[in-house]
C-alpha cells in the first residue's frame, strides 16, 4: 500500500516520541538499577538475592498465587454474569450492568478497607451479625479478611468488573446472524451458546483473564491494607518497603524485572493465539443480538446477580456509610449514636482534604483526555498497520502493564528528578505516571473496538479520495465514539483508583486523595476515610454519568454503522 503524504506521519512520530519519554526512559533507569550495585557497578547480585533469599522468594510465590487465583475467580464470576446481562431476559439486566460499572468506581484499597470493616475477625460487622444470629463465641470468626484467601477475595471483587465489561461488550457486538443461522439449522439454545456464542466470546474472556491476572500481579493498595495485618508480603508491598529509608532501588528494580518478562511473555502468547482468529465481526452489516429466554430461571439468575453485586458494592458501601456516621467504626449507627463528627473533621479540620480533592480531579480529567486520545491514535496505527514500526508502538503501549505502578513510580522518580526535565514535585510527573499506567488497558479496550470495525469501511473512504485523518474522523471516529467515551471514563476512574505510583511520586503539595486515604489508614482514621471515599465516589459517579450522556447508548452506534 503506497501512502500519499498526509498529516498522520508527523503525528505518529510525535506519539512514538511521547511514549519514549513516558516509558522508555523510566524503564531504562529500572534496567540500569536492576543490574547495578549501590555504587553503580554492574552486577547480578540483586537477582541472586531475589531468587535465593526467602524474604524475596516468599512474596514472589505469594504474588503468583494471588494472580492466578484472582484471574480464575474473576472469569468464573464475570463470564456467566456478562452473558446473563447481555444475552438473556434476566430482569434488571441494564441496571446490573450500570451497577457493575459503579463498583469499578470504587478504589480497590477503599474496598479493602471497607471489607476490613465487614470481615475483620472480631470487630467486622458481618462477624458481629453472625454472632448475634448464631451465638458464635466472641473469639471465633466466620470471616477473617486478614488471610491470603481474604486478600484474593477482595482483589477479585474489584478486578472482576474489568472482565465482566469486556465479556458483556463482546457479547453485545457479536452479530445475531450466526446464532440465527445456528437455530435455523436446528440447534437448541444451549447448543448455539456452546458452539457459537462461547467460541466467539472466548478471545475476549482470555483477554479478560489476562487483565485480571496482571491487575492482581501489580496491585499495591489492597495488599498494603491487608497483607501487613495478615503477616505476609506481596511483591509490590515488598518493593514498597524497599523504598523506605535507606532506599534500595536496585533490589526493587530487580524484583520488577521478572514481572516484566512474565507479562511480555503472556502478552506475546495472547497475540499469537488470538492473532490468527479473525474476529472482526462488525462490518457493514449488523444484526441484533439474540435474547435467550430463561423462563423459570429468571428470578434465580437475578438473585445470583444481586448476590455477586453485594460483594463489591452493597455490603462495602453499607459499611462505609455506617463508619462515616458512627463514632466507632465497629458500632452500628443508631439514631442515638449517629454523628457528623467524621464529616466535620474531614472537611473542617483535615487540612489535606481540599487540596487533595482538587489535585485528584484535575489529574483525572487531564489523564483521561490525554489517555483516550493517545489510545485512539495508537490503536488506529496498529490496527491498520499505518506506519513502519507499528509493532513497536503496540509493544510500548502495552508494556506498562508489566510494570507495577509502584516501580513505574520509581522509574519516573529516577528519570525526572534530574535535568533536563525536573518534574518531581509537580502535577506533571503524576500526569505522566497516570497516563502511562492507564494506557495499556485503555489502549487494549480501543484496540479491540478497532478489531471489531472492519477495515472495508475505511478502505471505502480512502478509495473515495479521503486522507487517512479524514477517514479516521468521518468513518472510524463515529464508529468508535462509544468506545472512546468509555475509555475516557475508564482512565478517569483508573486515576481515582491509582495509589501505587502516586505513593512514590507525591509531595506534600501534590498529594492526591488516594495517598491521603493511605496516610489516614496508616493511623487508623477510618471515619475520615469513609467520608472521603464516599465523597470521591459520588463525584466520580456524577462525572461518569455526564460523560455517558454524550455516548448516547447503543442506538447512536448502530445509526452510525
Amino acid at each position: 500500500m503506497t501512502a500519499r503524504f498526509d498529516l498522520s506521519r508527523p503525528l505518529m512520530m510525535a506519539v512514538a516520541a511521547l511514549l519514549a519519554v513516558m516509558i522508555v526512559l523510566p524503564m531504562g533507569w529500572l534496567v540500569v538499577y536492576a543490574f547495578a550495585d549501590k555504587a553503580g557497578n554492574p552486577t547480578l547480585a540483586n537477582f541472586v538475592t531475589l531468587f535465593t533469599d526467602p524474604d524475596f522468594l516468599d512474596p514472589l510465590i505469594t504474588t503468583l498465587i494471588i494472580a492466578f487465583s484472582t484471574s480464575a475467580v474473576c472469569c468464573v464470576i464475570a463470564a456467566p454474569l456478562g452473558w446473563l446481562v447481555a444475552r438473556t431476559d434476566m430482569p434488571l439486566g441494564r441496571t446490573f450492568r450500570v451497577l457493575v460499572m459503579a463498583s469499578l468506581v470504587t478504589p480497590p484499597f477503599v474496598g479493602a478497607i471497607a471489607w476490613e470493616m465487614l470481615a475483620a475477625p472480631n470487630s467486622g460487622l458481618l462477624n458481629q451479625v453472625w454472632r448475634m444470629l448464631t451465638g458464635m463465641p466472641s473469639d471465633e470468626a466466620l470471616f477473617d479478611i486478614y488471610t491470603l484467601p481474604g486478600l484474593i477475595f477482595v482483589i477479585a471483587c474489584y478486578t472482576f468488573p474489568y472482565v465482566f465489561i469486556l465479556v458483556a461488550n463482546a457479547l453485545d457486538r457479536m452479530p445475531g446472524e450466526l446464532e440465527d443461522a445456528s437455530s435455523m439449522l436446528g440447534a437448541g439454545t444451549w447448543a448455539t451458546a456452546r458452539r457459537i456464542t462461547i467460541p466467539l466470546a472466548l478471545p475476549t474472556l482470555a483477554a479478560g483473564a489476562l487483565i485480571a491476572f496482571l491487575q492482581a500481579l501489580n496491585i499495591f493498595g489492597s495488599p498494603a491494607i491487608l497483607a501487613i495485618p495478615a503477616g505476609f508480603n506481596t511483591l509490590t508491598t515488598k518493593i514498597w518497603s524497599l523504598f523506605a529509608f535507606p532506599p534500595k532501588p536496585e533490589l526493587a528494580a530487580a524484583s520488577a524485572l521478572p514481572l516484566l518478562v512474565l507479562t511480555v511473555a503472556l502478552l506475546r502468547t495472547q497475540s499469537l493465539v488470538l492473532g490468527r482468529r479473525g474476529y472482526a465481526v462488525l462490518g457493514g452489516k449488523y444484526g441484533a443480538p439474540r435474547v435467550v429466554r430463561l423462563g423459570g430461571l429468571r428470578l434465580p439468575a437475578a438473585a445470583l446477580a444481586i448476590f455477586v453485586l453485594s460483594l463489591p458494592l452493597f455490603l462495602p458501601y453499607a459499611a462505609l456509610l455506617n463508619t462515616a456516621f458512627s463514632p466507632v467504626s465497629s458500632q452500628f449507627v443508631t439514631p442515638e449514636t449517629f454523628t457528623l463528627r467524621n464529616v466535620i473533621f474531614t472537611f473542617r479540620e483535615l487540612s489535606s482534604t481540599l487540596p487533595a480533592m482538587q489535585n485528584t480531579f484535575i489529574l483525572a480529567t487531564l489523564s483521561a483526555t490525554v489517555g483516550a486520545a493517545l489510545s485512539l491514535l495508537i490503536a488506529y496505527v496498529v490496527a491498520r498497520q499505518a506506519i513502519k514500526g507499528w509493532r513497536f508502538l503496540d509493544f510500548l503501549a502495552t508494556a506498562p502493564l508489566a510494570i507495577p505502578g509502584i516501580v513505574l513510580g520509581v522509574g519516573l522518580f529516577l528519570a525526572y528528578t534530574r535535568p533536563p526535565l525536573t518534574l518531581y514535585g509537580t502535577l506533571w510527573i503524576l500526569l505522566i505516571a497516570f497516563v502511562t499506567i492507564e494506557l495499556p488497558a485503555a489502549y487494549q479496550q480501543i484496540r479491540s473496538a478497532f478489531h471489531a470495525v472492519h477495515p472495508e469501511l475505511e478502505e471505502a473512504g480512502r478509495m473515495l479520495g479521503a486522507t487517512r485523518m479524514r477517514t479516521l474522523w468521518d468513518i472510524t471516529g463515529p464508529l468508535l465514539r462509544a468506545s472512546a467515551i468509555a475509555t475516557w471514563c475508564f482512565v478517569f476512574v483508573g486515576v481515582i483508583r491509582e495509589l501505587s505510583a502516586a505513593v512514590i511520586l507525591f509531595t506534600s503539595e501534590t498529594k492526591v486523595v488516594a495517598v491521603l486515604i493511605f496516610d489516614l489508614k496508616e493511623s487508623g482514621d477510618v471515619g475520615a476515610i469513609a467520608v472521603l471515599s464516599l465523597t470521591i465516589v459520588v463525584i466520580t459517579t456524577v462525572v461518569i454519568a455526564l460523560a455517558n450522556r454524550l455516548r448516547g447508548g447503543r442506538a447512536s452506534l448502530r445509526a452510525a454503522a
Binding site: 475483620a120 475477625p121 473469639d139 505476609f232 528528578t417 493511623s523
Partner: protein
C-alpha cells in the same frame, strides 16, 4: 547545598575547630514572639507542619494557630518513619516544602542535624522554661511534648483481673490472638519503644511475642483505635494519650503501665533551613512552645508538656509516678536499620 552549609559553619567557627576534642555548643540567642516576627510570618501567610502526632490533636492545634494569627497551616501527618522517608526524598530532590518538622523518633533529629538541614532557633520560652536536657545544645531543635507507649486493653473483652501487668505477661498463651501492635518500620513511637524493650527484655522477647498471633498495624496511633473498636482486646503498644482520650470519652479502655517499665518517647521539633516560610515556621514553633500552645496540647490530649510552666492534665498519672524506660535517641540513630530488620525477621512484615 549541603557543602555550602558546611562551609558556612566552618567559617563561623574558625577558632573552635582546632580544639576538636571538646564539643562546643553554639546556642543561639533566644527570640521572643515579637510583633516584627508576627508581621513577617503573616506576610508569608502559610506554613507546613510535618508531624507524626495523631490528627485528632495536630489538626485542632493547627486550626488554633490559624485562628490566632491568620496563617494557614498544612499538616503533613504520617508515621514518623514515613515522614522521615518523605523528607529525605524531598530534600534529595531539592524540593523545599517542610517548614516545621516534628517527630516521635528523636533519632531523626540527630540525622537531620548531621545533614545540616536544621536551622538554629530558640524561642524565649524554651530558653527560660524548658529543661536543658530537652533542648539541642546548638539550638537546632527542642522537645515539644512527651508521651508513652503503653499497654492497654478493652475492659469489655478482658476483665481487669485477667489483664496483663507487664510485657512478659503478654507471652501467656491465653492472650494469643487477642493483641494488636504497631510497627517500628512506620511509627517513630514504636521504633523508640522497640529499642528500649529489646534492650530491657532482649530480642528473644519479640521472637516469642511474634508467635502470639499479634495483629500487626502500622502507626502507634492505630492500636488505640483497634481496641476501641473491639478488634483486639489488648494493645501491646500505642500512643498513650490516645488510650486516655478514648477512655475519657467513655470507651471501655484501661491503660497498663508495665511492671518492666513503660517506653518513654520525646517528640522534638525544629525548623528546616530550607523552609519556604521561615518566619511563619519560627512563629509556629514559638507559639507551640509558649504556655498557650503547650496548654492547648495538654488540654486536648493530656500529653506531658515540655514547658515547665504548664501543668500536666488533671486526672492523668504524674510522669514521675510511672516507671519509665530510658530513651536513647543516639542508639536508635545508629541501630534503626538493624531494629527494623530484626523485627521483620520475627513478625514477617
Amino acid at each position: 547545598m549541603r557543602r555550602r552549609s558546611l562551609l558556612k559553619t566552618a567559617a563561623l567557627l574558625p577558632a573552635l575547630a582546632p580544639l576538636g576534642a571538646r564539643v562546643v555548643s553554639a546556642m543561639p540567642a533566644a527570640e521572643a514572639m515579637t510583633p516584627a516576627l508576627i508581621e513577617a510570618a503573616k506576610k508569608e501567610g502559610k506554613v507546613s507542619y510535618y508531624t507524626a502526632m495523631d490528627l485528632s490533636v495536630a489538626e485542632p492545634m493547627a486550626r488554633a494557630f490559624e485562628a490566632k494569627f491568620g496563617i494557614k497551616v498544612a499538616v503533613e501527618r504520617s508515621g514518623a518513619e514515613r515522614v522521615f522517608n518523605r523528607i529525605a526524598q524531598e530534600m534529595a530532590s531539592k524540593i523545599a516544602r517542610a517548614d516545621v518538622v516534628n517527630s516521635s523518633d528523636a533519632a531523626h533529629f540527630i540525622a537531620w542535624k548531621r545533614e545540616g538541614w536544621l536551622a538554629p532557633y530558640v524561642p524565649e520560652d524554651v530558653a527560660k522554661d524548658v529543661p536543658p536536657d530537652m533542648v539541642d545544645p546548638d539550638g537546632l531543635y527542642c522537645n515539644q511534648r512527651t508521651h508513652l507507649s503503653a499497654i492497654a486493653y478493652n475492659t469489655k473483652l478482658i476483665a481487669p483481673g485477667d489483664a496483663p501487668k507487664g510485657f512478659r505477661d503478654l507471652l501467656d498463651p491465653k492472650y494469643s490472638g487477642k493483641m494488636v501492635k504497631g510497627h517500628p518500620g512506620y511509627s517513630g513511637t514504636i521504633m523508640t519503644a522497640t529499642q528500649q524493650l529489646s534492650r530491657e527484655l532482649g530480642w528473644s522477647y519479640f521472637e516469642k511475642l511474634s508467635k502470639q498471633k499479634v495483629l500487626q498495624v502500622q502507626s502507634a496511633t492505630e492500636p488505640p483505635k483497634r481496641i476501641e473498636a473491639g478488634e483486639r482486646a489488648i494493645a501491646v503498644d500505642g500512643s498513650d494519650y490516645l488510650f486516655w482520650m478514648a477512655k475519657e470519652r467513655g470507651s471501655p479502655i484501661e491503660v497498663v503501665h508495665a511492671v518492666e517499665g513503660t517506653p518513654q518517647i520525646s517528640n522534638p521539633m525544629g525548623v528546616f533551613k530550607t523552609a519556604p516560610n521561615p518566619n511563619a515556621a519560627r512563629l509556629m514553633v514559638n507559639w507551640i512552645m509558649s504556655p498557650e500552645g503547650q496548654k492547648f496540647i495538654v488540654d486536648l490530649s493530656g500529653q506531658y508538656p515540655a514547658n515547665k510552666r504548664v501543668k500536666q492534665k488533671e486526672g492523668r498519672p504524674a510522669l514521675s509516678s510511672i516507671k519509665t524506660l530510658k530513651e536513647e535517641a543516639a542508639v536508635v540513630a545508629e541501630k534503626a536499620d538493624q531494629i527494623k530488620a530484626q523485627y521483620a525477621k520475627y513478625f514477617k512484615v
